[in-house]
Symmetry: C2
Subunit: 195 residues, 2 copies
């Protein structure tokens, strides 16, 4: 292992540890010291990678948010609304499956929400949630349509991270989230969508 | 004002202040000292009412959870599933309207979730979420049915507390949450439910 891959490995273990602590204590309830202790390193070693806890929270969230952006952009190239919705829903459920802990945090933890809001606002263009809503509900949705999309996607992310379903195997949870999402969005799924 | 009502008033201001801080910092990111400072009293004054932060979190959550229990019990006396769902949905939306901050916290803050889980489990009988699910989806729902109910109700609570809708007036938000909830639950609302 080169020095470079060893450093990447430590950084990645640090982010895994931070996510675990964030999901147990919230971002604001987690200190750099707690992360260092859990990882078995000194606080100085944590500082080598990140200067603040917010930088850690941003780094924890970044890959998932980036992936969500890519899903939304790819959906825009699909030929019709039905195919666009299905693309976002399938991609979103895959994200949930891989990030069950993180997605629960996004929606509820005030510290994580603040970081996500800051990362994804104005400077890089339209807010990611606005873009997602436009793909799912059109450029000028009614308030009820916008709230429907919000309820279904937030609800899916919360259900995917809920303790009630923590024991389900991945395939079962994935299939049920997809089926529920399709039904709630009034969209029957890829097979019947081709009619 | 008698000494008794003055004490009730302080206790109630303390709980309002705690809720505000919890929603800004999470339960774990809020200290008794922060609550005392925000309230302009000493930490000893806070201790007069509550021995631990968890006691405060329980007291913050208790009235809403109690009301949710009453809504579920009342729903059970309704003649059919459709009327039961509508009773729970209407009551739940009213709770959201009155407790926009608190309901966001329930679903996402790990500290609050821990308190709620502890308060509403075994000793007092069946978990409140289990009872709610049974009213909404029947005694033996399929996994997809149980997840649907979870997604819709969690999503409604999150949307009700979402910053995107914080500027909507109460009537507009209430009507839209009800309409979305009824549509997603496949239930057209009180007028057509009588058919």
């Amino acid at each position: 292992m080169t020095a470079n891959t060893a450093a990447n490995d430590t950084r990645s273990r640090l982010l895994d540890t931070a996510l675990k602590l964030f999901s147990e204590h919230g971002v604001e309830g987690t200190s750099l010291q707690m992360i260092a202790d859990e990882l078995g390193v000194t606080k100085a070693a944590v500082y080598y990678y990140f200067k603040t806890k917010d930088e850690i929270a941003e780094a924890v969230a970044a890959p998932t948010l980036h992936e969500l952006e890519q899903i939304i952009e790819a959906a825009r190239t699909k030929p019709n609304r039905s195919a666009q919705i299905d693309h976002v829903l399938s991609g979103f459920v895959e994200l949930i499956m891989r990030q069950r802990l993180l997605l629960g945090l996004y929606n509820g933890d005030p510290g994580m929400r603040r970081v996500v809001d800051r990362t994804f606002q104005a400077p890089r263009g339209e807010d990611i949630r606005t873009r997602m809503r436009k793909v799912l509900a059109g450029d000028h949705p009614s308030l009820a349509e916008a709230i429907s999309v919000h309820v279904v996607f937030t609800g899916l992310a919360m259900a995917g991270g809920a303790p009630e379903y923590a024991n389900l195997d991945d395939d079962t949870l994935r299939q049920n989230l997809l089926a529920v999402g399709r039904r709630l969005l009034g969209h029957p799924g890829p097979k019947r969508a081709a009619r």
